[in-house]
């Protein structure tokens, strides 16, 4: 059974979807019971499980249950305090004060203090972390006046809103008493992390499973409910679906089961398809242009290509309805930042052809205007399928497209270092604030080799200026307005086209409760997840 019919979901912004989901009364009257082993499907075995160094969803999926951030996203309040009880940015933007929770211990019994936060911020987030290196670039020092207060000091004014929005993803706190003086790149901690979280790392059987067990010292009374979480390595999507059916596994996250199987699984008694709980980690599908290619440097051609693509078709056919058409780089689930007051390029092949003629690329004798090479990102079925669709869509307006495929490593090198592409299909992640991983797709002047960033050859002083304002405007309302301008300019210049926003889908057995109950559910701590005894 589904929580809501698919057609109903599609018509609503995901925010409403989310609140509708959590208020679903089906399980509301049930009281949590403790015990049981939750078995979830897993397909990757990250080489480094340390979430403070590798801020990525594959790592969080496992280690967010062991190592906690300062705060987690929440449907009702925006942010739910975890290791920090409250926080406040100074008016000058030069400091950010964190009031930490008292009485928290590491799973080895040592007390958690502000020294741990200072160590993590200065030596890990700022120095080592793939995302933190940018956000905490201007972090100068962390003062620890007492055990429960940590004050981040910045050398340049830094918006409190940005730090706040970054808390869930980039502030996993590491134990200073275990790691100080260690070589953070080589330490065995990275394979078996220790944290304050609801679960403790127990074992990794390579190729088979990870096992986490209940943290008896967890600070939240009575939680976690589960005795164990086992991540079973099940690489094949078909096998995952079968394992859900037999009850060998309880949960698959991150759309690990093909979308085409969702309807069949949903029809199985005891299994539900749950399309929520990922709003904080929305993925987007983009069509990236290489502006170095003469035709694509022309804004008219880019607009024409945008007009040639039917976003609704993509949503219906590639995503089977589990996506929304994009109006710009910010997803509508990000209520604060989102604006739909942007230039639109509705599906209109006649207009596309008109623009291409106007740009000076008429159809040749064979009906073709010019040819392009398209590299779809190889990691999602949906990125590859979108590539196939774009090829067809552009053929209809006289642009011949050749699909070039590579494996992930090859794709990254070709697009982001060698710029050896004309068109690319990308899947950038929305991480809760435009400054974390969205504006970098429009930032000019980056070195070649910076991945998931503007390697398109687009460099607009006006855009660079807006992006700079975004990370220096301290007033939250004013900063939010800056990002509305950002969306407008992004759609006007159209250096890349945001085609769809999609969030992943969880498929879970009905006995598992409190599934998808926060916007980063799969990458959150699961302290309140429990298994109902009789189903």
């Amino acid at each position: 059974m589904t929580y809501l019919p698919k057609e109903f979901l599609r018509g609503l912004p995901a925010v409403f979807m989310a609140s509708a989901l959590i208020s679903t009364p089906v399980f509301a009257q049930d009281t949590p019971v403790s015990g049981g082993t939750l078995v979830v499907a897993n397909d990757t075995e990250p080489r480094n499980l340390n979430p403070a160094i590798v801020a990525s969803n594959g790592v969080f999926y496992i280690s967010s249950k062991i190592v906690e951030p300062l705060a987690e996203m929440d449907y009702d309040t925006g942010l739910r305090p975890l290791l920090a009880e409250s926080w406040e940015a100074s008016d000058d933007g030069l400091s950010f004060t964190l009031n930490l929770r008292e009485g928290v211990t590491w799973s080895d019994g040592a007390p958690f203090t502000s020294a741990d936060v200072a160590f993590s911020a200065m030596q890990v987030w700022k120095e080592k972390q793939n995302i933190g290196r940018q956000i905490f670039r201007n972090l100068d020092a962390v003062e620890t006046p007492d055990d429960t207060t940590a004050i981040l000091r910045f050398s340049e004014p830094t918006p409190g809103q940005l730090i706040e929005n970054a808390l869930p993803a980039v502030t996993a706190v590491l134990p200073a008493h275990l790691l100080e003086g260690e070589n953070l790149d080589e330490t065995s901690y990275n394979a078996a992390p220790v944290g304050t979280g609801p679960f403790v790392f127990a074992e990794h059987k390579p190729g088979e499973l990870y096992r986490l067990t209940r943290n008896e010292n967890y600070w939240q009374n009575g939680q976690p409910y589960l005795d164990q979480i086992v991540y079973r390595v099940l690489p094949d999507p078909g096998a995952k679906a079968a394992a859900l059916e037999t009850g060998d596994i309880h949960v698959t996250a991150f759309s690990a089961v093909p979308l085409t199987d969702m309807a069949r699984l949903d029809a199985i008694e005891g299994v539900s398809v749950i399309p929520g709980g990922y709003e904080g980690i929305t993925y987007n599908i983009t069509l990236d242009f290489n502006h170095r290619r003469e035709e694509l440097g022309n804004p008219l051609v880019r607009q024409a290509i945008a007009h040639a693509i039917d976003q609704d078709f993509l949503v219906d056919v590639v995503f089977l309805g589990y996506a929304t058409p994009a109006t710009g780089p910010v997803p509508p689930t990000a209520e604060d930042f989102y604006t739909d007051d942007t230039a639109k390029y509705p599906f209109d092949t006649a207009r596309a052809e008109e623009l291409l003629d106007e740009a000076g690329y008429p159809r040749g004798a064979d009906g073709t205007r010019f040819s392009l090479r398209l590299r779809p990102a190889p990691w999602f079925q949906q990125t590859r399928d979108t590539g196939d669709y774009v090829r067809q869509a552009l053929a209809a307006v006289g642009i011949e497209v050749e699909i070039v495929t590579a494996d992930p490593g090859g794709h990254i090198a070709a697009v982001y270092t060698d710029h050896d592409y004309d068109l690319a299909i990308g899947s950038p992640v929305w991480r809760n604030d435009p400054a974390i991983s969205t504006t970098i797709l429009y930032q000019g002047g980056l070195d070649a080799g910076v991945p998931f960033a503007n390697q398109w050859g687009y460099d607009s002083p006006e855009m660079n200026d807006i992006i700079a304002q975004g990370i220096s405007t301290l007033d939250t309302a004013a900063r939010t307005e800056v990002y509305k301008d950002f969306q407008r300019l992004a759609q006007e210049d159209l250096p890349i086209v945001f085609l769809t926003h999609f969030t992943f889908i969880t498929v879970a057995r009905d006995e598992v409760r409190n599934v998808a109950n926060n916007p980063r559910w799969a990458t959150s701590g699961w302290a309140d997840t429990w298994i109902a005894a009789d189903q």
């Binding site: 790592v59 094949d236 079968a242 060998d248 494996d407 992930p408 490593g409 990254i412 991945p451």
Partner: protein
């Protein structure tokens, strides 16, 4: 070249030692070629280990990429990287797998037993069924049984392994619930040694049969062809003329020599042993070397890939020595000795 050259016939053990030594020496140029090939191919592939890693973690900056390249030793020039790589190999130092953050030897040894268990069972099962069915088909040449066996084996051969595997899962694991869905052992089962062994065997039934059925056609066709051919040879005619019972003619005079090509094929297939079957390993969630090799390539993990290929080459050499020994047992005309079996 039969015994002509021998003045003093060396002892069996000494001859065997020389034979082994020759085999190992023969393997050296192969190993060198393989080692250079691995390096060259990974070098030709777009992107390096850092690109593959960044693709996995989804974000990074130029500074991070440079630091990682430094740490992985990818910042050096081509020549010095090749030197480091080949020096290590010569010293049999398999090195460190950057994709798994563990020693290459550890990573390979974790998976070697699973792959060997699965592939040896599958090849032997496939060869045994193939020999029996091929033999029956040859004896009933042209009859409906022959046509049925040949046709069935070809259909199985043409069926993709993953599809056969998934069908097996749906029928035996999901519908009938007789067999487990995948993996190598039951989660959290606390079994004694006997039950634990049976548990692993139960988990291997589906993958081993899936693999065996896809290889089956090969052995059926080989055995059938060989038996028909041998059946026309002079010694079979002679044996029948001597009045040897038909059953003995078929088993000893036709069947035994007809096994030679089958054994050769087992030797050749040993090459695929270590490669395992990426597809079957994936479908049945078995941590094996096939999937590992695939991961090594996609992560551009040179040390790991070299280690896997090295292990594979050694295994092929080893299996082929056994195959040569088996020839001697099957065909009395074959004598093991230096220079005789090349």
């Amino acid at each position: 070249m039969p015994e002509a050259k021998s003045k003093v016939s060396p002892s069996r053990a000494a001859r065997f030692a020389v034979f082994l030594f020759q085999r190992v020496v023969q393997a050296i140029p192969v190993l060198i070629l393989v080692a250079i090939g691995v390096f060259g191919l990974l070098e030709l592939a777009e992107g390096d280990a850092v690109d593959a890693y960044l693709a996995g973690i989804g974000a990074g900056d130029a500074g991070l990429a440079a630091e990682l390249r430094d740490r992985y030793g990818l910042g050096d020039g081509l020549g010095s990287r090749f030197l480091t790589y080949s020096t290590r190999l010569v010293q049999f130092d398999l090195g460190y797998s950057i994709a798994f953050s563990r020693d290459v030897s550890t990573v390979i040894l974790e998976r070697l037993p699973n792959t060997l268990l699965m592939m040896i069972s599958a090849i032997l099962l496939s060869a045994s069924i193939g020999v029996i069915l091929g033999g029956i088909a040859a004896m009933r040449k042209g009859g409906p049984l022959d046509a049925g066996i040949t046709f069935g084996a070809l259909i199985l051969n043409a069926t993709p392994g993953f599809w056969l595997g998934l069908l097996g899962i749906i029928l035996f694991a999901v519908k009938l619930r007789w067999l487990p869905i995948g993996g190598l052992s039951t989660l959290d089962a606390d079994y004694g040694p006997v039950r634990a062994t049976l548990d692993v065997a139960r988990h291997l039934v589906l993958p081993v049969f899936t693999l065996a059925l896809t290889y089956l056609a090969l052995y059926v066709r080989l055995m059938r062809g060989a038996m028909i051919e041998v059946g026309e040879s002079g010694w079979v005619l002679a044996a029948r003329a001597r009045g040897v019972p038909e059953r003995q003619v078929v088993l000893r005079h036709i069947g035994r020599p007809a096994l030679l090509p089958v054994v050769t094929m087992i030797g050749l297939q040993s090459g695929t042993l270590l490669g395992g079957s990426v597809v079957i390993e994936t479908v049945f969630s078995i941590p094996g070397l096939g999937a590992l090799a695939f991961e090594a390539v996609s992560q551009r993990d040179l040390q790991l890939l070299a280690g896997i290929l090295l292990a594979g080459t050694l295994l092929v050499v080893f299996v082929n020595i056994i195959v040569d020994l088996a020839y001697g047992l099957l065909d009395p005309r074959v004598r093991l000795g230096a220079g005789e079996i090349a």
